[in-house]
């Protein structure tokens, strides 16, 4: 469940910006966006094999979009949450060649948070049609009661 924080810290020694912390969620690693791929590579390969991407999603924190990569080691049953902050309308670098499971969630996240997708083999819109705003951003409101009532 909860991996050894020092071991993860050691595995990510080459990543300068990596900060390992234990929170209510579990073990979180925060990295800068430009070192994200390297951090995931270090976690996936080597003795700390985390071969499975459980989930990938974004959180609009008010200042930036946090992208959460939830990776899991099946042999030891441990989870690590790698987080990296992207600016609004920033660029989400695809990690599909590390984790093919990211293919659809990346498209979904980029679309619903208004990010551009780099390095993705099929960077089309996934869920909505053209012209629809990035709906999961906090700045995009839902319909008001009046709008719904006077439909």
């Amino acid at each position: 469940m909860l991996p050894d924080a020092t071991a993860i810290d050691k595995a990510l020694a080459a990543i300068g910006s990596a900060e390992v912390a234990t929170t209510t969620l579990g073990l979180e690693v925060r990295v800068e966006a430009d070192e994200l791929v390297a951090a995931l590579e270090a976690l996936k390969s080597g003795e700390h094999d985390f071969p499975m991407l459980v989930d990938l999603f974004g959180i609009d924190t008010g200042e930036a979009v946090d992208i959460v990569y939830h990776v899991r080691s099946l042999s030891r049953d441990e989870d690590v949450y790698v987080k990296c902050a992207l600016s609004y309308e920033g660029e989400l670098t695809s990690v599909w060649n590390l984790y093919p499971a990211a293919l659809l969630p990346e498209r979904e996240t980029a679309e619903l948070f208004g990010l551009t997708l780099a390095g993705h083999p099929n960077p089309k819109r996934l869920l909505t049609t053209d012209g629809i705003e990035p709906l999961l951003l906090k700045s995009v409101p839902i319909r008001t009661v009046e709008e719904v009532r006077d439909r």
């Binding site: 869920l127 909505t128 049609t129 629809i132 709906l135 839902i142 319909r143 008001t144 719904v148 439909r151």
Partner: protein, 168 residues
């Protein structure tokens, strides 16, 4: 066979062809197998299952819109789906009817405040019967179909009455 009981065995009945067709239409409402969301499980799958068995009422599913009389809109319609719903409706031959099944198809339901959701399928296609519920029970859908049959019957009677007035 019901006719036999009224007119006696081996009898001959004279009706207008139009009336005969209306009677046939009413009792063989083939719906389009087109499930969008949760309602499809109740309105299309349980309906064709052994307990509810809509086939008794002549209500049966067709896979192609070109062979269907009724479209059950069973689920939330969003802006991406709206185009397809309209296209399927246009592909169905006349006469055709639309049943809005459940809260989502009627008004947007629990998802009405999400900007991507269409507030009711009646914004896209004309709806004949609304069935409330989230999701409606198969019995409600059955009642909805009975209401649709009544509506078809009423429409036919009104048309015939209008013709009688004109001919007079």
């Amino acid at each position: 066979m019901a006719l036999d009981r009224i007119t006696g065995e081996h009898s001959v009945a004279f009706v207008r062809s139009e009336q005969l067709f209306d009677w046939a239409r009413r009792n063989s409402l083939w719906y389009l197998a087109f499930g969008i969301a949760c309602c499809a499980i109740e309105g299309l799958m349980s309906a064709s299952g052994p307990r509810f068995d809509f086939d008794r009422m002549g209500v049966f599913f067709r896979a192609s819109p070109r062979q269907a009389d009724v479209m059950i809109v069973a689920g939330t319609v969003n802006h991406k789906m709206a185009e397809t719903v309209l296209r399927l409706y246009e592909q169905m031959p006349e006469p055709k009817w639309v049943v809005a099944m459940g809260a989502c198809a009627s008004t947007g339901g629990p998802f009405r405040s999400y900007p991507n959701v269409v507030l009711g399928v009646d914004k896209i296609v004309p709806v004949d019967v609304y069935i409330p519920g989230c999701p409606p029970r198969p019995e409600s859908v059955q009642y909805g179909f009975i209401q649709l049959q009544e509506k078809i019957k009423r429409q036919a009677e009104e048309r015939n009455a209008a013709r009688r007035d004109r001919d007079r």
